[in-house]
C-alpha cells in the first residue's frame, strides 16, 4: 500500500492539540503514524525543513505536483481584521493563511480540523471575536466557516471535525488511522461531522462521581468530591466525548482532576452565558439538564434522590477526601454517630 501523505498546518490556535498528540503512548506518535501508513510531509513542531523548502512543498501541492491525502489544520481560521486575514499572514508569503488553506483544501483528498478552534472557531472566537476567527466548515454551530456548507473533499466527505480543547491524542491518531485505511465514511460522523467513535459517548459515562450524581450529593467548592452538575458548572451529562472511559495522561480526566467539564467538544463552548465554574439555575433548578431528560422527571427524580441520599454521600460530597468509606457500619457505631449529630 502506498503511504498516505499528511500535511499539518497551524493557524489561530495554541498548538495544544499537537502537544497533546505527543502524549500518545504505546506506541508513540511517530510510530503510530508510520505503522498506519502515513507519510508526514510536514508538521510545524516535528519537521526539519522550513522556509523555502516548506513553501515549495505547499506550492507543489497547490499545483498538483505533490499528492496530498490528508490536510490537517490546528487552530482557527483567522479572517480578521475586516475579512483581510492580516491577523495571520503565513510568514514568508505575505498571503493570508486562509488563502493557503482554501488552495490546499481543494487539492486534499481529506481535510481534518484538529481541535475545536479549527472545527468551529473555538476559544479564539470567544467574546467579541476580535480576530474574526472561524472554523473550516462551521462558524460555531452554523454550517459554513471558511469552506462553506456545500464543500466536499476529493473523497466526497465534509471536513472531519476532531473537536476538543485540546484533542485527546487517540482521537486524532484513530481518525488518521481510519482515513489511512479508507475506512471512514459519513455514517461514522455525527451531526457536527465529529467522529462518532468518541462523540457517541457522554463525558458522564464512566464518571467516577456517578454515585454522587445518582443521589444529587453535590460538590460546593473546588476540591469537593461530590457531583459537580448542581453547583459547579459541570456539563458532563451533556458533553459528547469519552473522556471518562479513555483516560488522559495515563489515568486522568477533568472530573478526576476535581473540576467541571466545560463541554469543549461542542461548538460555541467558549462563550458560556454564565461563569464556567457555576451552574446557572432557574428557581433552584439547573438550566442545562442531562441530554434527553424531561425537566419534570429530572425535578421529581432529583428530589426523590435527595431525600434518599445516604449520610455517607451527603458528607463526602462536600469534603476533599473521603470521610465515610463505603463499608457496613456496626450497630453501636451508628448509634454513636447519631448521638454526635444531635450535639451539633
Amino acid at each position: 500500500m502506498t503511504p498516505k501523505t499528511l500535511l499539518w498546518l497551524q493557524s489561530g490556535g495554541c498548538g495544544g492539540c499537537s502537544l497533546s498528540l505527543l502524549n500518545a503512548e504505546n506506541p508513540h506518535l511517530l510510530d503510530r503514524l508510520s505503522q498506519s501508513g502515513i507519510d508526514l510531509l510536514w508538521h510545524p513542531s516535528l519537521s526539519e525543513s522550513n522556509g523555502p523548502e516548506f513553501l515549495s512543498l505547499i506550492q507543489s501541492i497547490c499545483e498538483g505536483e505533490q499528492a496530498l491525502d490528508i490536510l490537517c489544520l490546528e487552530g482557527s481560521v483567522m479572517m480578521g481584521p475586516n475579512g483581510t486575514g492580516r491577523f495571520h499572514l503565513l510568514s514568508g508569503t505575505d498571503q493570508p493563511m486562509f488563502h493557503w488553506l482554501q488552495k490546499l483544501a481543494a487539492k486534499a483528498k481529506q481535510v481534518v480540523a484538529v481541535g475545536s478552534c479549527a472545527a468551529f472557531g473555538g476559544i479564539t472566537s470567544a467574546g467579541i471575536n476580535i480576530g474574526e476567527a472561524t472554523g473550516l466548515q462551521f462558524d460555531s454551530e452554523q454550517p459554513g466557516g471558511l469552506l462553506g456548507d456545500q464543500w466536499r473533499s476529493q473523497s466526497d466527505l465534509p471536513v472531519i471535525n476532531i473537536a476538543g480543547c485540546p484533542t485527546h491524542p487517540d482521537w486524532v491518531t484513530e481518525t488518521l488511522m481510519l482515513l489511512a485505511a479508507d475506512a471512514l465514511d459519513q455514517n461514522q460522523l455525527d451531526e457536527y461531522n465529529r467522529p462518532r467513535f468518541y462523540t457517541d459517548h457522554l463525558v458522564h459515562h464512566g464518571c467516577p462521581r456517578n454515585e454522587y450524581y445518582e443521589y444529587k450529593a453535590s460538590s460546593e467548592k473546588p476540591g469537593d468530591l461530590g457531583c459537580m452538575m448542581e453547583h459547579m458548572g459541570c456539563l458532563g451529562t451533556q458533553a459528547r466525548a469519552d473522556c471518562n472511559i479513555r483516560p488522559w495522561n495515563g489515568t486522568g480526566s477533568c472530573l478526576k482532576g476535581g473540576y467541571a467539564c466545560v463541554n469543549c467538544t461542542a461548538p460555541g463552548f467558549e462563550d458560556s452565558r454564565h461563569s464556567f465554574m457555576e451552574t446557572p439555575k432557574l428557581a433552584g433548578i439547573p438550566v442545562g439538564l442531562p441530554t434527553d431528560m424531561p425537566k419534570a422527571w429530572f425535578v421529581a427524580l432529583a428530589s426523590l434522590a435527595k431525600a434518599a441520599t445516604p449520610e455517607r454521600l451527603r458528607k463526602n460530597a462536600v469534603a476533599e477526601r473521603l470521610i465515610y468509606p463505603p463499608r457496613k457500619e456496626t450497630k453501636s457505631k451508628e448509634v454513636k454517630q447519631k448521638g454526635e449529630g444531635k450535639k451539633r
Partner: protein, 506 residues
C-alpha cells in the same frame, strides 16, 4: 521610522511553537565578510486574548488563559490563579503550593526536553553540516523525526507527563490550578505513584541525557569543570551537545548582554525562609563593577515594567500592564503584532539562563561573565535545570501532607480589585495583570516570556533581545532567501531562546 521593507525574509520558521518571520539586512562588514546588519522580528499571528477576556467572570480567566498556549498551558494557569488570588486576597494552602509546583515543574521540564531533543538539536543534523567530522554521529542520533532519540524521548516525555493525569486531570488545559491551591486532593497511593514517575524520569535523565547523576551535574561550577565533564561524558546527549560548542563556537554565537529578569520560580510553602526554589530578581550589567564580572543583582520592581507599541500594529500608549490595552490596527506603521516590554526602560532577557543567573548558579555566572548570554549558555542553563529541579520535585512530593487541605476557601470575590500574577514558564517570566470592575474583568494584560525575548524595537529604536543577538552573524551569500535559510547559525540563535510564538502576542 524606518520600516523593514524589501529586506530578505526568513520564514516560515518551524519548531518555534507557532509562526515566526524575520526580516534581515545583510551587508559587507569591515572585515570583508557578509554579515547580518539588522534584524526585525515579526510575530505574525494575532488572536486577542486580552480582548476576549474583557467582560468575563474573573474566575473564567482559569478557562481562557491556559488556552493561550498549548506548551506553557500550566504556566498560564498558574499566572492566572496567582493574579486571582492576589485580587481575592486568598492564600493558597501549602499542599496546593506543592501540587502546583509539581505540576508546573512537570510542564517546564517536559518543555525543556521537547525543546532540546525535538526543536533545537535537529538543526545540527541538517545537510549544511554534512562535511563536518562529527556529522554522522550527530545526525544518527538527533535527525528530526528519524534520529535514535525519538524512540527514547517520546516515551520518557509522555510517561513523565502522566504526573499531570494525577495532579491536574490532564495536560494541556487543566482547571485544577486554583487561587486557593489545587482542586485535586492527593492521597498516599497517588503520592507514591508520583514519586515513582519522578524517579523514572530521573533514571532516563541519568542514563540518556547525562550518563551521570543529577547531583554531579548540578555541582558543576565553572567552564573548566564543564569542559572536563564533557570530555568524560561524551556518550551522553549533554556531552554530545557540548562537543559541538568549540567547533561551531556556540559560546560566541547569539551573544548579548541584556538585563536578566526572573520572577522567581516554584512557589514553595510559606514556612520556608525562601519563597521560591529559584529566587526572584534582576541582574544588570555594570561596566564599572568588577564583582560578579560586572553583573549586579537588584530587587525586582514590577511597577517599572512598561509595554511599548511604537513598532507594533497597535494603537494606544506605552503603559504599565495595569493601564495597558490591546487595540490592533493593521494599518498603523509597525512590523509585529508583539508589544515591546521594557523593565525600567531596559530590554530584558528571560528564560532558564536568566533564572539561573539571577539565582546565582556558579556555572552559569561563570559562562555569562566570560562571554555574555550565548547559544551555549542558554542551552546549558536549560539542561542544568533538569539536574536542579528533579531532586526538588522528589522533595516536594514527599512534603505533601495527604491528610490536609489542598484548596483554601475562595468564596470571597470582591466586585472590584486588582491582581498581579507572576510565574516562570519554561522559557521565562510570564506575568498577568487583572483589573476587576462590577464583578467582571475590566482589563487583563499578559506579558509572556517570548514577548520579552522576541520584542520588536521600542520608541527609542532599541532592538529586542533576538534582534540584537542576530547581528553580525556571518553569511556566505548576502540577500538570497534560500542562502539565508541555510545559514544554520541563525537557526541556532533563534531556537536558543526556546521561543513560544503563540504566547508572544496571545
Amino acid at each position: 521610522m524606518t520600516l523593514p521593507t524589501g529586506k530578505t525574509v526568513l520564514g516560515p520558521l518551524n519548531r518555534v511553537e507557532g509562526d515566526l518571520e524575520i526580516r534581515v539586512e545583510v551587508a559587507q562588514s569591515d572585515d570583508g565578510k557578509d554579515r547580518v546588519q539588522q534584524a526585525w522580528v515579526n510575530s505574525p499571528l494575532f488572536r486577542g486574548f486580552e480582548v476576549i477576556l474583557q467582560g468575563k467572570a474573573p474566575l473564567d480567566a482559569l478557562v481562557y488563559t491556559p488556552r493561550i498556549c498549548g506548551i506553557c498551558s500550566v504556566a498560564q494557569s498558574v499566572a492566572a490563579a496567582s493574579a486571582l488570588a492576589n485580587y481575592m486576597e486568598v492564600v493558597p494552602t501549602d499542599n496546593g503550593r506543592l501540587a502546583t509546583s509539581l505540576t508546573l515543574a512537570c510542564e517546564n521540564l517536559a518543555d525543556h526536553l521537547s525543546h532540546f531533543y525535538l526543536f533545537f538539536m535537529p538543526d545540527f543534523a541538517r545537510a549544511g553540516y554534512q562535511s563536518q567530522p562529527w556529522f554522522d554521529a550527530i545526525q544518527k542520533r538527533f535527525r528530526a523525526q528519524v534520529g535514535e532519540v525519538v524512540n527514547q524521548v517520546l516515551p520518557a516525555r509522555a510517561g513523565f507527563m502522566q504526573m499531570t493525569g494525577i495532579l491536574a486531570g490532564k495536560w494541556p488545559h487543566s482547571l485544577s490550578l486554583q487561587p486557593g491551591g489545587t482542586s485535586k486532593a492527593l492521597g498516599s497511593s497517588e503520592q507514591v505513584r508520583l514519586l515513582m514517575m519522578i524517579r523514572s524520569f530521573r533514571q532516563f535523565l541519568e542514563q540518556v541525557l547525562f550518563a551521570d547523576t543529577l547531583e554531579n551535574v548540578a555541582a558543576l561550577e565553572n567552564r573548566e569543570q564543564l569542559n572536563a565533564w564533557a570530555a568524560s561524558h561524551a556518550q551522553s546527549d549533554f556531552g554530545r551537545f557540548l562537543s559541538l560548542v568549540e567547533p561551531l563556537q556556540l559560546d560566541q554565537l547569539g551573544v548579548t548582554r541584556n538585563t536578566f529578569l526572573s520572577y522567581g520560580a516554584y512557589d514553595i510553602p510559606s514556612n520556608s525562609s525562601q519563597p521560591h526554589l529559584f529566587k526572584q530578581g534582576v541582574a544588570q550589567w555594570q561596566k564599572q563593577s568588577l564583582k560578579n564580572g560586572g553583573l549586579k543583582s537588584k530587587k525586582l520592581d514590577t511597577t517599572l515594567i512598561e509595554e511599548d507599541i511604537a513598532y507594533s500594529w497597535l494603537v494606544g500608549e506605552r503603559a504599565h500592564p495595569y493601564q495597558g490595552n490591546t487595540q490592533p490596527d493593521a494599518d498603523v506603521p509597525g512590523y509585529s503584532w508583539c508589544k515591546a516590554p521594557r523593565l525600567d526602560g531596559n530590554v530584558a532577557e528571560v528564560g532558564a539562563l536568566a533564572r539561573q543567573v539571577v539565582n546565582g548558579h556558579p556555572l552559569l555566572l561563570d559562562l555569562v561573565k566570560t562571554d555574555g548570554a550565548s547559544v551555549m549558555s542558554r542551552v546549558v542553563a536549560r539542561l542544568l535545570e533538569f539536574a536542579l529541579v528533579v531532586p526538588a520535585m522528589e522533595q516536594w512530593c514527599q512534603q505533601l501532607q495527604v491528610n490536609e487541605a489542598f484548596c483554601a476557601d475562595q468564596s470571597r470575590q470582591p466586585s472590584s480589585g486588582k491582581g498581579q500574577g507572576l510565574v516562570e514558564a519554561a522559557r521565562g517570566s510570564l506575568g498577568h495583570w487583572l483589573n476587576v470592575e462590577d464583578g467582571r474583568i475590566a482589563n487583563y494584560q499578559i506579558i509572556a516570556p517570548t514577548t520579552w525575548n522576541f520584542s520588536p524595537r521600542d520608541q527609542q529604536g532599541v532592538c529586542g533581545p533576538l534582534e540584537s543577538a542576530l547581528q553580525n552573524i556571518e553569511l556566505n551569500n548576502a540577500g538570497d532567501a534560500a542562502e539565508l535559510h541555510e545559514c544554520l547559525p541563525i537557526q541556532h540563535v533563534i531556537r536558543s531562546y526556546d521561543p513560544c510564538m503563540v504566547c508572544t502576542v496571545h
